[in-house]
């Protein structure tokens, strides 16, 4: 019986707006606020205006105030590169690191002769960790700024968004974060997509046998409800089955969850050897705090754990096992030099991780490819030269696989120490990426 005259006088008397309209307005606002993370996770048309996780409208920086452009010994016509990452939004802390690594690489290259004598000029854009904003910015970089390549990006959400724009404009994307590859239907095999991070076979294939040998074969999975977590879980399930183990359950939470209470009942029922975590960003920090409060005992394993993440919740998650292409504890001359330069530029305490290192590498890969194409910055000329890249990176020597256009790199299995560093336990070298029968060459 929803009659509009059946209302009490309180709202009528005090407001110029009827209760009905009030209901509609407030319900809409409430629903928008409540659903913003869910919508964002779906990668659908989440209106950025309603996204309360902070979409900063002002993006990027002015290329003229970048230190790299001024004192370069490179004199030729500038090569224009776009850089995109999450400078705001839930992954802003990671975007900051990619930003620093990108700037470091550009400064180093520009002060040592540029790319075939041509300086790098760049335009930084903020994705806001939001798909709509990413599409806008990628379109701007491609059409307005006419960049020769776009470097960066973190979550699969924004990568998929950028890939709706860049390939059709023939602008290559050098994607700099480890991701799910072709799993879960992600775009992974495209002539205009170059991956400098790892795909699952490089990251998880070495890890699962290590776990079988040292920890166990039963898993409970908890992740954020999006493509990387789901895709990685698919790959994990296959690999674990091969080892004769099983994934007992997998639970995916919407972004921005601050209460994982119900999961711990599931974990207790499953009683697995391993709790496999693919929660994104700060949700992972919240999870670790609650993992301790609930006194859970399964061995924590997360391919997302690194020193940067550990610093956000000091003291929690000690002993968590991880597997990535780079940790700052990698022991070689290139890494020592890289860390020295990085800390000289950004301070003694500045942390770096694999997606930062992969961003740094991406700029150098671009340089080597363009130089292999005799300094021609036209993507049609330098993309075929990617397979000639042979860069002594901080994580070891890397190349680019001609078939998939993804980086051939080392993998390190490590453990989080009490000091918040990653102690490297096992190294596998020159892992070749596999992207579901992808043959681009």
């Amino acid at each position: 019986m929803a009659k509009e005259n059946e209302i009490t006088t309180s709202e009528q008397a005090s407001m110029g707006v009827g209760r009905r309209q009030m209901l509609k307005t407030s319900l809409g606002m409430g629903a928008a606020a409540a659903l913003a993370p869910v919508l964002a996770a779906c990668g659908s048309d989440a209106g950025s205006g309603a996204n309360s996780s902070g979409t900063d409208p002002e993006a990027g920086s002015d290329p003229t105030d970048n230190p790299g452009g001024s004192d370069s010994s490179a004199t030729g016509e500038a090569i224009k590169v776009g850089f995109m990452t999450d400078l705001t939004g839930i992954t802003a802390n990671l975007g900051d690191i990619q930003d620093k690594c990108f700037n470091l690489a550009v400064n180093q290259i520009n002060s040592s002769g540029g790319i075939a004598g041509r300086p790098i000029e760049f335009i930084t854009e903020d994705t806001g960790a939001d798909s709509t904003q990413t599409i806008e910015k990628a379109t701007k970089l491609a059409l307005e700024d006419e960049v020769v390549a776009v470097i960066g990006l973190i979550t699969s959400l924004v990568r998929e968004a950028a890939l709706t724009v860049l390939p059709s404009e023939k602008v290559p994307l050098l994607y700099t974060t480890y991701y799910e590859g072709a799993a879960s239907g992600a775009v992974a095999c495209d002539p205009y997509l170059i991956g400098t991070g790892q795909v699952p076979n490089q990251q998880i294939e070495p890890l699962v046998p290590y776990l079988t040998e040292n920890v166990g074969t039963t898993y409970t999975v908890v992740g954020s409800d999006y493509i990387w977590a789901r895709g990685t879980t698919e790959v994990l399930e296959e690999l674990v089955a091969k080892e004769g183990g099983n994934v007992k359950s997998s639970t995916f939470y919407p972004f921005g969850t601050t209460d994982f209470g119900p999961f711990f009942q599931q974990l207790e029922e499953d009683d697995p050897d391993i709790c496999w975590v693919t929660l994104a960003g700060t949700d992972f920090s919240t999870f670790l705090k609650q993992y301790e409060q609930f006194g859970a005992t399964a061995k924590l394993v997360s391919p997302a754990m690194d020193e940067v993440f550990a610093a956000t919740s000091p003291g929690t998650g000690v002993g968590t096992l991880t597997s990535q292409s780079y940790f700052s504890t990698v022991d070689n001359d290139e890494n020592t030099k890289f860390l020295e330069d990085y800390q000289a530029a950004y301070g003694e305490d500045a942390l770096v991780n694999s997606i930062g290192e992969a961003t740094y590498n991406a700029v150098w890969i671009l340089k080597e490819a363009i130089e292999a194409a005799d300094g021609d910055s036209d993507p049609e000329k330098w993309i075929p030269k990617l397979s000639e890249v042979d860069f002594a990176s901080p994580s070891g020597t890397i190349g680019v696989d001609a078939d998939t256009q993804h980086a051939v790199s080392n993998n390190y299995i490590g453990e989080l120490t009490e000091e918040g560093t990653i102690r490297i336990l096992e190294t596998s070298e020159g892992n070749v990426p596999q992207v579901n029968g992808c043959v681009l060459s």
Binding site: A2, E6, I7, T8, T9, S10, A13, S14, M15, G16, V17, R19, R20, M22, L23, T25, S26, L27, M29, G30, A31, A32, A33, A34, L35, A36, P37, V38, A41, S52, S53, G54, N93, D96, D225, T251, P254, G256, T257, T258, D259, G261, P262, F264, Q265, E268, E269, T282, D283, S285, T286, K289, Q290, E292, Q293, F294, G295, A311, T312, S313
Partner: protein, 288 residues
């Protein structure tokens, strides 16, 4: 059995936090007719208060007492400078408080950085209830939040201040005609509402990543809880919170966590469509 107990505990946890948030929103909405879109940031401010004080070396319990005071003072300041001008303009108020929410969020980001901050857990260990072990700290939160809610109710029902507020809830014009200085009550009520939000934030701080946008997780459901609750603002807010929190955990347990979030909103829309008066209503007799 185990899963039933764990459901009850998890639902109780979510509902108790949600109730505090919804109660604050309900007080403000009931008294001022303002939908405070900046309520989520007050949750974050409560949590950051704990971060600052514990980093200064003060015990968590002290911070727990200071946080609502910070929320109260800030709320009263906001009311005096901004909200006061918006009491009879509910749609403008939404716009202004959305703006306020952005300003507060970015200010927090500027001060504390975009990286999550963390507060050590003041109570460790778990509590064994019929075979289900549950963190002691969470049990404490449920108890404290319930106590604060009870205190709020007693305050609004028993104190003379509360009685006047109830009168304003029921008929603002009549109350003003009878000599009530609504302005004064508005300011205190707004302060109380924001104090409750800050208190919720200070309870959450040790078990969540402290971030400027951390309130968003609770804000949406709390809004719906207030609308769902209906005309008896305070009781309604808590009833609404129980509906939202309980069903979210239940649907999440039964289907997926994402459906828990989405499903409860769909159900809320159905309930509001069918019973626009909400879950807890005033008697209808005295409509003028």
């Amino acid at each position: 059995m185990d899963s039933l107990i764990s459901f009850v505990l998890n639902a109780a946890f979510l509902v108790s936090i949600l109730s505090l948030v919804a109660l604050g929103l309900g007080v403000i909405y009931g008294l001022l007719g303002v939908i405070n879109m900046a309520h989520g940031e007050l949750i974050a401010i409560g949590a950051y208060t704990v971060v600052v004080l514990t980093e200064l070396g003060l015990p968590y319990w002290t911070a727990l007492a200071v946080a609502p005071a910070v929320g109260m003072v800030l709320g009263m300041l906001l009311e005096a400078t901004l909200i006061r001008r918006l009491t009879d303009r509910p749609l403008d108020a939404i716009l202004v408080t959305v703006g306020l929410s952005l300003v507060l969020q970015q200010t927090l980001k500027a001060w504390f950085g975009a990286t999550a901050r963390s507060v050590p857990s003041p109570i460790n260990g778990t509590f064994d209830l019929l075979g289900v072990s549950y963190p002691l700290f969470r049990v404490m939160i449920i108890v404290v939040a319930t106590a604060i809610m009870a205190l709020t109710f007693v305050f609004f029902v028993k104190s003379s201040f509360g009685l006047v507020v109830q009168a304003i809830f029921q008929n603002r014009e009549a109350a003003v005609t009878n000599g009530v200085n609504a302005g004064k009550y508005n300011r205190i009520a707004f302060g109380l509402g924001t104090a409750l939000a800050a208190f919720a934030g200070s309870l959450l701080a040790p078990s969540a990543a402290v971030l400027p946008q951390m309130g968003a997780f609770y804000l949406g459901p709390a809004f719906i809880a207030v609308i769902l609750g209906g005309e008896k603002r305070l009781l309604g807010a808590v009833a609404g919170a129980a509906f939202m929190g309980g069903l979210e955990v239940f649907i999440g347990d039964t289907f997926t966590r994402t459906w828990g979030r989405v499903g409860v909103l769909i159900l809320a829309i159905i309930v509001i469509r069918m019973w626009p008066g909400g879950l807890v209503r005033e008697p209808k007799a005295r409509v003028a």
